[in-house]
């Protein structure tokens, strides 16, 4: 298989684009796709400060690397969930990247330890409040990333969600007829109210296989093992199903998610309606001041439950 552009030996085939690329052309392709996403969805500019949510996995480290190479001002935040062994290995990968490539580019790493601030690791917290670990993890990560972005005055928060993540989430929401969640499935969510950071997903045009290939080809050492908490998750099942469809009919994931975005853009030509909807239902949490639709935000509610479980 030869590179579609320069005809030398290819390192990866991309059936959905009916193309194959050598290393330099593949890296250029990845950069172009991310640049296109940033431009098309008006994510951020070169003068803005970006906070990348990093986990030690391929997507978030690849995203940090791509943004720095494209010349953006991108720092990162790592949330240590306190999952013994796994969190330590993940943190090591993040720190190694931060101290080498990121430091050279003048970027810095912020860290948050769940054990230190929340008083227990994620597994223990989930048991205390009787909730699935992934659900407690989602609440803590969303809260802490948003908080760090606001407190450290970043203009925008970027996550490493890729095409597979978004297509699988869309499939899950459609299978469960969760129309109200579809609004928030776009790659760029505005800072609709005070206390909310703008959130963007610059990798949404790239598949998981492409971000992994980018990391490997650029020597980005990421944590290959799966989070032990994710075993048996529906997200993995939906991804597996979509990949079987993709193998039989290349381009399925892209048509599914991008087709959804096209229809969403036609239905709502401007982002105004989401901002209006948010402003109508969100108000500051009385405890922490982060926006919430409930009386108390889900993070403060969770921490109060954990505290009362400990004190009895």
């Amino acid at each position: 298989m030869n590179c579609t552009k320069c005809k030398i030996k290819a390192v990866i085939g991309l059936p959905r684009h009916n193309a194959a690329f050598c290393k330099p052309c593949f890296v250029a392709y990845v950069h172009e796709q991310v640049a296109k996403a940033i431009r098309h969805d008006r994510m951020f500019g070169k003068d803005q400060r970006i906070l990348v949510a990093v986990s030690g996995g391929k997507d978030s480290l690849a995203l940090w690397d791509i943004l720095l190479r494209l010349g953006y001002r991108a720092d990162a935040l790592y949330v240590d969930l306190g999952i013994s062994g796994y969190s330590t290995r993940s943190r090591d990968k993040v720190v190694r990247y931060a101290e080498t490539a990121a430091a050279t580019a003048g970027a810095k790493l912020l860290q948050h330890e769940v054990q230190e601030e929340e008083g227990a690791g994620i597994r223990e917290l989930a048991v205390l409040i009787n909730r699935p670990t992934c659900s407690a993890c989602g609440t803590i990560k969303r809260y802490q990333f948003n908080r760090a972005a606001i407190e450290h005055h970043y203009d925008v928060m970027a996550t490493g969600h890729n095409l597979d993540d978004e297509a699988a989430r869309l499939l899950g929401n459609v299978l469960h007829w969760q129309e109200e969640y579809l609004d928030k499935q776009g790659p760029s969510l505005p800072a609709s109210v005070e206390g909310f950071a703008k959130k963007v997903k610059p990798l949404y045009r790239l598949t998981e296989r492409e971000t992994a290939a980018y990391a490997i080809l650029n020597g980005i050492d990421y944590v290959v093992e799966e989070c032990p908490m994710a075993k048996g998750s529906k997200m993995l099942l939906y991804k597996e199903v979509l990949n079987r469809l993709e193998t039989e009919s290349p381009g399925t994931k892209q048509r599914f998610y991008c087709g959804f975005l096209d229809r969403q853009a036609t239905a709502e030509p401007s982002g105004t309606s989401m901002i209006e909807k948010d402003r109508a239902v969100l108000h500051p949490c009385p405890t922490c001041r982060q926006p919430t639709t409930a009386e108390v935000c889900s993070y403060c509610k969770m921490m109060a439950r954990a505290k009362s479980a400990v004190t009895g």
């Binding site: 390192v11 989602g138 799966e226 998750s233 997200m235 993995l236």
Partner: protein, 81 residues
């Protein structure tokens, strides 16, 4: 050839020469969910692997973001009319 596979971690010996896509098919692995690494390089599906080669088959699928609570099958069960 020696084949190292993750999730779960295992090492296998397969007879070469064989194309990458045939190795994946033999192990019942989907191309879209895996990358094949030989040395420091990625190899494409049509590449012929020699009997003396050592490769790593790396899964690329991760759980990603935690799944929403509303995906629970018991949550808000619909009834057929």
């Amino acid at each position: 050839m020696r084949v190292r596979v993750s999730h779960p971690d295992r090492e296998l010996e397969l007879q070469g020469p064989k194309k990458v896509r045939d190795v994946l098919r033999e192990l019942n692995l989907v191309v879209e969910a895996h990358l094949v690494i030989r040395g420091n390089d990625l190899v494409t599906e049509d590449e012929l692997l020699a009997d003396r080669d050592t490769i790593e088959i790396r899964p690329v699928i991760s759980g990603g973001a935690p799944e929403p609570r509303h995906w629970s099958s018991v949550h808000r069960m619909s009834r057929c009319p």
